[in-house]
Amino acid sequence: MTNSIGELKDAACILAIGSNTTAAHPVIGFIVKQATRKGNKLIVANPREIELVRYADIWLQQNPGSDVALLMGMARVIVAEGLLDQAFIEQRGENFAAFRESLKDFDLDSVAQITGVPVAKIVEAARLYATTRPASIIYAMGITQHSHGTDNVMAIANLAMLTGNVGKPSSGVNPLRGQNNVQGACDMGALPNVYSGYQAVSNPAVKAKFESAWGVTLDDKPGLTLTEIMDAAHQGKIKAVYLIGENPVLSDPDASHVRKALEKLDFLVVQDIFLTETAQLADVILPGVSFAEKEGTFTNTERRVQRVRQALAPVGEARSDWWIACEIARRMGGKGFDFASPAQIMAEIARVTPSYGGITYDRLETGGLTWPCPDEKHPGTPILHTAQFTRGKGQFLPLKYKPPQELPDAEYPLILTTGRSLFQFHTGTMSRKVGGLNKFMGEELVEINPADAAALGIADGDTVRITSRRDTVAARAKLTATTPPGVVFMTFHFAESPANRLTSPALDPVAKIPELKVCAVRVEKLKQSVAV
């Protein structure tokens, strides 16, 4: 997030796009709803009638995968009606002319055609967003998990810069990260192209710095991404994988392909707290500990580094994940893995990572610190880009609408989109162990619009078969108008109905994020529901 969570309450206007906030980030959902109670404006852009729609001033029900068209259409209205922040654009932006030129492709009639949103609503939303300041945009996987996810994010950035909604309190571009420490894992360089603090492995100065810090020779060629690792494993090029605390057999697209890739490996080590679907494929399983049994830090979606403190002794012989990795490194002859505590690791992180330079356990004792926090006197940076952007000026990007890579056809007439339930989490490894949560949602329910269901002869509770070009999955149907006609919705929480066997592995070319939000499927009735 460019801004902090608490600022959302004072955003005069919030645009929530591709985020089912009350289900995936419930406490941020509270704050968004509280803002609307104060009379602040809310625009929700979502194909599904999510809970937030009830609190919204405007609901834009765009077709899945049409976000670029919707956002560029709004930008076009803002430019045409002169609602832009001229001063901000001149002082802080560049490439505006080319961007304005690219808006020509987005005449509102075609935008309405592509998005399914009436012209009047697009105009109304654009005016409300542009004239109600400060305005904040929040978004999540509904924006990023597309074959053109990077374009979606750029379209959001364009809109925010166009209206000067950057670098000010309660404004900004605010991605809501899904897992507790996705932000931190990225910050720490658990990515193939960067070290901690997003320092590029290909940069010679960075390479030299880490070589001297770690006392080794390093590779300046970026490595493979998760999806590429799976492909390489499939082809036999990757032979061994050390996998920690992930469950790609359920979370990754085209999951049957992932399973086959992992089965092909010569050696698979899985470190986890449960025997997950992925761990069942392993040659060696190392028992890690839960968050409650270890010391450390997580970095939340607003870049706030906060302490995790040990509350319980590890179960059985389980050990902290950092200890296990250090032991493996040491036994392989690695130098610089003699850490006695996570506090010592943080000290090294601070030494080599400019944005974490001022973060110490002592300082975290009294509360979190928001990076960039370059030195021990620095108070942290809740709002980014107040004076300038990381790259200097903010670049407006001309964009083109690209449809999702897989569209419905005669054989696969429906769009499958995926998401999360409030009562489960990710692949259910933790939340499905909780009886009460299972009582609220204990199995996958495929949401189908009653109109589609009627045409297919499907009644509420019937078991249906969902088939995509990749695989087939069975689950019970839930008839609901929440999901629009032509679209079906599934979560990916349940191993028994693994939605990601169906999803498309089409990748965004830049971010390499798979298109989990759109794939084509057909749905057939398998079994009548048994009345209870």
Partner: protein
């Protein structure tokens, strides 16, 4: 910043403009009994426990709703104020299921606290005999209306904090009660089980099903989504028996969702947890020692070419762990093949 000076029970105190008389008294270290007041919620003025006398002001204003003004002279512990409080609490007690020993809120109950402050040791009215059935339909908490004092803190929390509005005060007078829409069971309502109502209930009317008290608390960060809610885990032996949100210096201001409040202890202590290293031998997973497992992993990983190995790390693990994982990949395995599920 505008400051106001006033006197509460003879003590001078300075507060920010906009503060209530109750807040001024608290700032002066003076206790005023309250029941419906809650610092997380808008002033309500329903229970009349917080009445005070203010010089040059008529009647007995409720301090929780009265703004403090310059030069005010406030008396909190006067016979007139205590008469009003006593009458209110005696009525509440007559209608209250007073089996305190078996109440989940025993000794934390705010009704007990105000009754003790007023010195109420016997009741002038006969106890009512009406009983409500306990609504135990929610898997995480019970609603026992026999212990409800109708302060509406639950209703207001559900409205003001979560904005869900699953419950309201229904019916009138003696029939008044906290109810869901259509007076259904809690489980059949639109309640999302976040437990904010439970966290704000002053008595045992809304109480978690897990009623054991922790012996210590540990402040930490929630392991579910990316909001990073700050929470205190209540520990009893080797179990987590309670979770409390942290109000200050936290992204969540004390609030929690259903997973954070009720979805942690059970998975942490689940019998399916992995408790020893396992190695596959002849297709079967066998328990081995750490030394054996770690040596095997180190030996095997060392046997491949640099580009043939990959490390997949975890968005559930800590920063320190992710740092060590990528360092292991880059500095020891010699590869940048390191990634995690950021994109999923």
């Amino acid at each position: 910043m505008d400051e106001i000076r006033l006197t509460v029970d003879g003590r001078e105190v300075k507060v920010k403009k906009g503060a209530t008389v109750l807040e001024a008294a608290q700032a002066a270290g003076v206790y005023i009994p309250t029941l419906c007041h809650d610092p997380d919620l808008e002033p309500y003025g329903g229970c009349r426990l917080c009445v005070v006398e203010i010089e040059k002001m008529r009647g007995l204003p409720t301090s929780c709703t009265t703004p403090a003004t310059e030069g005010m002279v406030v008396h909190t512990d006067t016979p007139a104020a205590n008469d009003v409080r006593r009458a209110a609490v005696e009525l509440l007690c007559a209608d209250h299921y007073s089996e305190c020993l078996t109440c989940p809120q025993n000794q934390r109950c705010e009704l007990q606290k105000v009754a003790a402050y007023l010195g109420i040791t016997r009741l002038p009215y006969p106890k009512t005999t009406r009983t409500f059935p306990v609504d135990d339909s929610n898997p995480f908490f019970d609603l026992d209306r026999n212990r409800c004092i109708l302060c509406a803190r639950c209703v207001r929390a559900c409205n003001e904090i979560t904005c869900v509005g699953a419950i309201d005060l229904a019916y009138r007078g003696y029939q008044s009660k906290v109810a869901t829409f259509g007076d259904q069971l809690m489980i059949s309502s639109i309640c999302k089980s976040c437990g904010e109502c439970v966290a704000h209930c002053p008595t045992g009317a809304l109480a978690p099903k897990e009623s054991r008290r922790p012996t210590r608390e540990v402040l930490t960060t929630c392991p579910y989504c990316g909001v990073g809610c700050q929470m205190s885990l209540g520990i009893r032996g080797h179990e987590i028996v309670s979770v409390r949100g942290k109000r200050e210096d936290s992204p969540n201001k004390g609030w929690l969702c259903v997973k954070g409040r009720y979805g942690i202890g059970e998975f942490v202590s689940h019998p399916d947890r992995l408790t020893a290293p396992l190695v596959r031998r002849d297709g079967e997973l066998k328990k081995v020692s750490w030394d054996e497992a770690l040596d095997l992993v180190a030996r095997k990983l060392a046997s491949y070419q640099k580009g043939e190995v990959a490390v997949i790390t975890s968005a559930k693990c800590t920063n320190e762990e992710n740092y060590v994982f990528q360092k292991l990949a880059r500095a020891v395995l010699g590869t940048n093949n390191v990634d995690h599920c950021a994109r999923l």
